[in-house]
Symmetry: C2
Subunit: 159 residues, 2 copies
């Protein structure tokens, strides 16, 4: 174990750290449980207000508010599917589809730590290879699995 | 494009879907922006209340509340590092460390979609191989990169 710092010692912010990082920016757009659950519904193929509302059991005002934000952020696209009466559906944009890796890793974590003895509520199948899949995060350079302890960081161009 | 459903058509929940999935369970524990940001601080090596508070600029009551929950969920461990005066620090447990893949994929998404022209605020280095790393999610069976469109699901044992 590392020697504890003295209690009076300052705990300064690492000066190399950027003031705002991408995690913080991401959370400003999707760091809300209802938002995340609407996205989960969208990844399950849901597109309609009433489906979001029914599946999540949330108040309509909550769904309306989150959908409006997701459209404003360009994560969902609002598209008319009927003119009379006017009806809209919400579809994931490319930016929205690209949230899948983060959501699927959250699901994997839930499977490992929160599923209890019963096992995971759902299993994933990778269509490309046909196997049951447990997605994992790897380094794009070496292909090795990535864990917190293996990673270091440095300021990027946008720091 | 798929033919749109008629506006009067019911949008039933897919009957195969489990009532509660791991994403929902995960969000019940970490689906809050402050919680997520405290975890980000912990992955940056911060352990002290005052560091969380200062780095996030949050009200102390917010930090106290989120730390208490994270300890109750077994994601952080509260540990005395001084007896007189009594002082505590907060360290990631194994369950907490295992959130890294989800958080790093959120960061990657932020890098791709929210960094603007300036580029990512920080870059990751994979210590194991020494390269700059852009972690990605792959199928553990075939090693192929996983995108939303390639994945199907079926009820698991805990459905």
């Amino acid at each position: 174990m590392q020697a504890p710092k003295s209690p009076t010692e300052e705990t300064p912010v690492d000066a190399r750290r950027p003031r705002v990082d991408s995690v913080e920016r991401a959370l400003a757009q999707v760091g809300d449980a209802w938002t995340f659950l609407i996205l989960r519904e969208a990844f399950f193929g849901e597109r309609r207000f009433d489906a979001f509302q029914k599946n999540l059991g949330a108040a309509p005002t909550i769904i309306t508010d989150r959908l409006k934000k997701l459209v404003a952020y360009g994560i969902l696209e609002r598209r008319a599917y009927s003119e009379r009466p006017p009806r809209f559906e919400y579809r994931l944009t490319d930016k929205g589809m690209d949230l899948y890796p983060a959501i699927v890793m959250m699901m994997q974590w839930g499977n490992r730590w929160l599923a209890g003895g019963a096992g995971p509520p759902l299993e994933l199948v990778h269509r490309t290879c046909g196997s049951r899949s447990e997605p994992k995060v790897v380094c794009d350079a070496c292909g090795g699995e990535v864990a917190a302890r293996d990673m270091d960081w440095r300021p990027g161009p946008g720091a």
